[in-house]
Symmetry: C2
Subunit: 417 residues, 2 copies
């Protein structure tokens, strides 16, 4: 018997998944069962196919599409903000003591699973994954390391959200082990093939695209918010030594494409609406196609935790906040599509590493490219990640009296093959 | 009534689709019908779902997967070279006067369509698209233009196949109009938003990946040929002015992602086996993980034809040949996966622009970045492409007495929005 709804909702104020969050994900009730769409609340997950079959989603677009029968969120992401709002309103009503769901014991029993009992999957099939470079602090830190403080920002950086195409096939869900890549690196000025010795994490948020646009039909910045379905945490694992040798002139390739980890629960844009804040002042003013309305920013607290190899303790490596992102998700979408490129529901946009005045989002920055090792409490040091290290990204927005948690994006490093 | 098989096979020696080719594609028999998998022969296309339902494909893997019921080639591409060979052997047997197909009039009638009657579609759902930069002549020409002859090749170029992730969503089939992109460009050293004035084509071949590899499990160069399903022509449309301003440090983005055109017929690797030739000598010798066996090269004649705006005539802009590609498809696959990145059936690899001693594969090279306009026969000139221009890529391998044609990749430029 599942716990009663009232006890599911009896949560501490810092719980990531209160009734006000209701993030969407995909889970297998048992390890080999077919994937199902669900929503997280408290320590549980509600099976949306069960609720859909029971007829709760009465909005015409939801009745026509029946998006929750699908094994991924893509069909739901393909709908409009009005349909997403209708589904959310329905869910907010159902996850309330005394609701029709609460009163129907057999339905509640069929729909509710403990999250600790289920296996979480990628929430959507990622058609294309694009990674931006939208934190001024990060771009400045990296530019300073490699070109000095005078030329830290490239000439284009303040004029457009710099981004590149990433690899969709290797986007994995939190908990998937990360195999240290081997690759071609420069050793004493000669190329050599060996395991990466500069394996790093990158603290990012991911934006799942909703709706989509036809090829040749740009999304204006004014309506770009209609294409922001929701948010996840994203770790853009990076092999700095591989990247350094390969990236001129076409950008990162094998230095990044061995894995990208995302958190399993997609927090709806509506749940994070209370966390919208003005973005950083933009000077020079962006060209009109990038002139986004405020509030552009997203006040989401972020932290990077390391569970060092052989240890069960956790070390907070860094704390940051997404509010410092110079370019907003809406500006990224307007820029991405302005030449006609089509976005599809389920496409994933990474913000780029989120560094901030209060903390940085990579070991590259934190150790100054390995020159200043970190001392951990267990007496070991790190310049970059060691085999067996586990990196855990966490994040949350603070609402009035509750948290909107993004959950976790975790990955442990396995030794190179 | 369709023509008799014997008359379908009565082809001139330079026909692109003789019995020895049998490229795979996807077509709609009528403009709104569901897509079907087919094979091209002569002026026709054979519906493979019809032949599969008739029980012709007896190989166990083909009987188990029934890949030709699908609306794309992905399911067939997911099989092994042994299954592809079995299907090809069956088709070579069927497309022969007196074959069981030739003798069954109703089956022949159900399976055969004139290509001029059908609508051609993308042959596969492209999971990820990667573009390489594998022509030494092209990299040298471009490097010379921007950095001078002394520093033309970047330091990494002779050591690894440089590549980057492209945009999968905007890969389109031949014939799709190409909308001139607008974008951010530098004008008098200040960023401005306007239609690209340096719209270019790039002559490439595309490789469709077959099979695939698990994340973390590299494909050794020795077995990489087992992942080459087949070849198409590929036009990597490029907005040089957009690309120039955006590409440092993360590579091309909006300068490329507005469209990539491929030819509709995927020529099986087996059909081009007679065109395998030794590749260019590689000095320095590649690291062992890239040490591919000969014959690495592919003797495929390529040409770029322009049908200028307002004209019905064709101008050959350039002739080239894929045999000059420095890095082979097998080396691209070994490199792409060596850090653990997973390839999936239907993934597309572009070779990069194929320039050669006999001709170049872009207007950037041909006009020296616009400094030397081309004079066309109609009295007009071009530095880059004009609205209304149509670019047609063609290619073929020469077999003993027949051609293995790649068909065409066409696109006409529409004015900016």
């Amino acid at each position: 018997m599942p716990p009663a709804l009232a006890s599911v909702l009896d949560l501490p104020a810092d719980h990531p998944f209160p009734r006000q969050n209701l993030p969407y994900g995909v889970f297998r009730p048992t390890p080999h069962a077919a994937p199902r769409v669900g929503v997280a609340v408290g320590a549980g997950v509600l099976d949306l196919a069960v609720l859909e079959a029971a007829g709760f989603f009465a909005h015409p677009a939801l009745e026509a599409a029946r998006p929750f029968r699908a094994p991924t969120l893509n069909a739901f992401m393909a709908l409009t903000p009005e349909a997403w709002d209708a589904a959310r309103t329905t869910l907010l009503d159902l996850v309330r003591p005394g609701s029709p769901l609460d009163r129907a014991a057999s339905l509640w029993e069929a729909a509710y699973h403990l999250r600790s009992d289920v296996t979480l999957c990628l929430p959507a099939t990622v058609g294309d994954y694009t990674d931006f470079y939208a934190s001024r602090e990060h771009a400045t830190n990296v530019g300073t390391l490699f070109r000095g403080p005078e030329r830290a920002l490239q000439p284009n950086w303040l004029h457009l959200p710099v981004g590149y195409h990433g690899r969709a096939s290797s986007v994995v869900v939190s908990g998937t082990p990360i195999r240290r890549p081997r690759g071609q690196v420069l050793v004493d000025d000669a190329p050599a093939f060996r395991p990466s010795e500069r394996l790093d994490y990158e603290l990012e948020m991911g934006v799942f695209v909703g709706g989509g646009n036809a090829l040749g039909a740009p999304v204006p910045v004014e309506t770009a918010h209609r294409h922001v379905f929701g948010f996840v945490l994203l770790n853009d694992w990076s092999a700095r030594d591989v990247q350094r040798w390969e990236y001129v002139p076409l950008g990162p390739f094998l230095g990044k494409n061995f894995a990208t980890t995302i958190s399993p629960w997609v927090v709806p844009a509506a749940a994070l609406a209370p966390c919208r804040v003005p973005g950083p002042h933009q000077d020079p003013a962006p060209l009109p196609y990038l002139a986004a309305h405020e509030p552009r920013g997203l006040d989401v607290h972020l932290e990077v935790v390391l569970r060092p190899a052989g240890s069960t303790g956790e070390v907070v490596l860094s704390r940051s906040n997404a509010r410092h992102l110079y370019w907003s998700p809406e500006q990224m979408i307007a820029h991405h599509t302005v030449g006609g490129c089509n976005l599809r529901p389920g496409d994933l946009l990474g913000t780029g590493t989120i560094s901030a005045p209060e903390g940085v989002g990579s070991l590259l920055e934190q150790t100054e490219n390995g020159r200043r090792p970190l001392s951990l409490l267990d007496g070991t040091t790190r310049t970059f990640l060691a085999d067996g290290d586990e990196v855990i990204l966490r994040g949350w927005g603070q609402g009035p009296g509750y948290r909107v948690g993004l959950g976790e994006a975790r990955g442990r490093i396995l030794p190179a093959p």
